[in-house]
């Protein structure tokens, strides 16, 4: 009998959807023209890029001229942070982010810290959420930029972005949000949201890898990180990656179709069944992150007295793909900075498991995981000197 395959790591990446792939393919061959060329090959590619830009812009309520394509979510984050800080005309060296950001943000802030900027890392509550009051207290007269993630990749908690952005606007401070995990999975509308810059990535929403976008509100000036041919309004030079941009545009259309079809309710229903089933069947386990203010496809738990890597590998052995924030999976002796910032102790954080669902996840998949996961934990606990209570 062939082992069932259940991929539950959609926060890491998603498969390219069939319609996305089909839309991309012609632009590797007949649509290969350089979009900056004046001839018909160039014009065809340009038209495709324009359409894709409108589609991606529409996904977040932006205008097409407010979208810049980059090489990845990380590239967008770096462009937003460094580009804004270097372009800032305000006298000030103070920048603010949260303690639970993705490394693309966290390490950029730390690097800027070494370069002389004054960095504040805002604390989070036990759900991993940033509180508006703490931002209010942290903003100073010399604050030039705030970057707080839309939703957390490890625990799925959604931040109160509207409130956080409002505070920044009142204090006239630029506000960036990394929406890589959220975009395409929940409605985002920058025309009603006080956000100045917002990062999106195609491969988290059934698009290809190696393509990201940055929403930059009209009027905001960034210093480019890549100089050259002046593509992407001069903010990100380099010949446009037409197939990937087209794929991104198609992925944005797909995201809207999925949402209209009721996918958000379907997937969050399955996710709740999974989380409820886990905490019911596995003693000494609990959900990490917020249960309600949470990405619809995102599940994460901690299993006490178990090391996450062991769970991950044994799940893999029975055909289930998940991830963990334990030290052993990160290649260091420290478990996830997110879980520690939420106040979990080290020993518990080692037992973290993330299960993120996708559009192709079925109820049978969830039933299979609910059968295998408790069995695996039981086996590992039997090997452990701590038997649990």
């Amino acid at each position: 009998m062939e082992t069932r395959k259940v991929y539950l790591d959609h926060s890491a990446t998603t498969p390219v959807a069939e319609e996305v792939l089909n839309a991309m393919i012609p632009y590797f061959t007949e649509g290969m023209g350089n979009p900056n060329s004046l001839h018909q090959w160039g014009r065809d590619a340009r038209r495709a890029i324009d359409e894709a830009r409108e589609s991606v812009a529409g996904l977040v309520g932006a205008g097409p001229h407010e979208i810049v394509f980059t090489g990845s979510g990380s590239a967008s984050d770096n462009l937003a942070i460094k580009g804004a800080v270097w372009a800032s005309k305000r006298v000030g060296k103070h920048i603010i982010t949260s303690a639970v950001e993705h490394h693309a943000i966290m390490d950029t802030f730390k690097w800027l810290g070494k370069k002389g900027y004054d960095v504040t890392f805002l604390p989070v509550d036990k759900y991993g959420m940033v509180h508006p009051e703490s931002l209010k207290e942290a903003i100073r007269d010399d604050t030039i930029l705030v970057s707080i993630m839309y939703a957390n990749n490890e625990v799925g908690t959604i931040n109160p972005i509207a409130e956080l952005g409002t505070i920044c606007r009142e204090r006239k401070v630029l506000f960036h949000t990394d929406a890589v995990q959220a975009a395409g999975h929940m409605p985002i509308d920058v025309s009603h949201l006080p956000v100045d810059m917002l990062t999106i990535s195609a491969h988290k929403m059934y698009g290809p890898k190696g393509i990201g976008a940055l929403y930059i509100r009209k009027g905001i000036k960034l210093t480019p990180l890549v100089h050259g041919g002046g593509q992407e309004y001069g903010i990100r030079s380099g010949t446009e990656n037409t197939p990937s941009i087209v794929g991104f545009g198609e992925a944005a259309r797909l995201a809207r179709r999925l949402h209209e079809r009721g996918e958000t309710d379907r997937i969050s229903g399955l996710r709740d069944k999974l989380l409820d089933g886990i905490i019911e069947r596995i003693p000494d386990s609990f959900v990490t992150g917020h249960r309600v203010e949470r990405l619809p496809y995102h599940g994460s738990v901690c299993v006490r007295l178990i090391e996450g890597e062991g769970i991950l590998l044994r799940m893999d052995y029975v055909g289930i793909g998940v991830s963990s924030g334990s030290a052993c999976t990160s290649g260091s002796l420290e478990p996830s900075h997110v879980l520690l910032a939420m106040g979990l102790d080290h020993a518990t954080a080692h037992g973290s498991v993330r299960l993120t669902l996708g559009k192709d996840t079925t109820e049978e998949d969830i039933d299979y995981v609910l059968e295998e996961f408790p069995r695996i934990v039981d086996t590992l606990r039997k090997m452990s000197p701590y038997k649990g209570g």
């Binding site: 062991g310 020993a347 000197p385």
Partner: protein, 158 residues
């Protein structure tokens, strides 16, 4: 990342379990660091290791190295067993990723601690055990969190 042998020893660990009347028990590591190993020895009158068991809380490498270490020392005298190093254990497993050598060191230390415990019991001596709290050597940190955790979890440990 792991070779097939490591995966085999992780998926099908040998000598796993506790031992009610062990002649020596060694426990090293710390839940804070994500790995704790406990090795039980049954040593006969000629100081030959008749049986050996282990219990490990930790990653795949930690489980595989403790399993391999127990397999290697079974039938050895305790003097022979003390000569086994973490490199020997990792070598028998066909190599470990560099970041996992920490785990093989733990297996060596657990074995050593079990032998020391056996000798203490035999000679009725008490030796102060090394600090088992810190992941990378003790630097006199505050151990409150770990101690609380160990106190909470050890109620069911033995």
């Amino acid at each position: 990342m792991y070779n097939e042998k490591v995966i085999d020893y992780f998926m099908n660990p040998r000598n796993v379990g506790g031992m009610a009347d062990a002649s020596g028990v060694g426990e090293v590591g710390n839940p804070r660091c994500g790995d704790v190993m406990k090795i039980y020895l049954d040593v006969d009158e000629n100081e030959v290791i008749r049986d050996v068991k282990f219990e490990t809380f930790g990653c795949a490498a930690a489980i595989a190295t403790s399993s391999m270490a127990t397999e290697m020392v079974k039938g050895m005298t305790i003097d022979e067993a003390l000569k086994i190093t973490n490199k020997d254990v990792a070598g028998e497993l066909g190599g470990l990723p560099p970041e996992k050598l920490h785990c093989s060191l733990l297996a060596e230390e657990a074995l050593r601690a079990a032998v020391e415990n056996y000798r203490e019991r035999k000679n009725n001596q008490t030796v102060t055990p090394p600090c088992s709290i810190c992941c990378d050597g003790c630097s006199g940190n505050d151990h409150e969190e770990e101690e609380a955790f160990i106190a909470e979890t050890s109620r069911v440990a033995d």
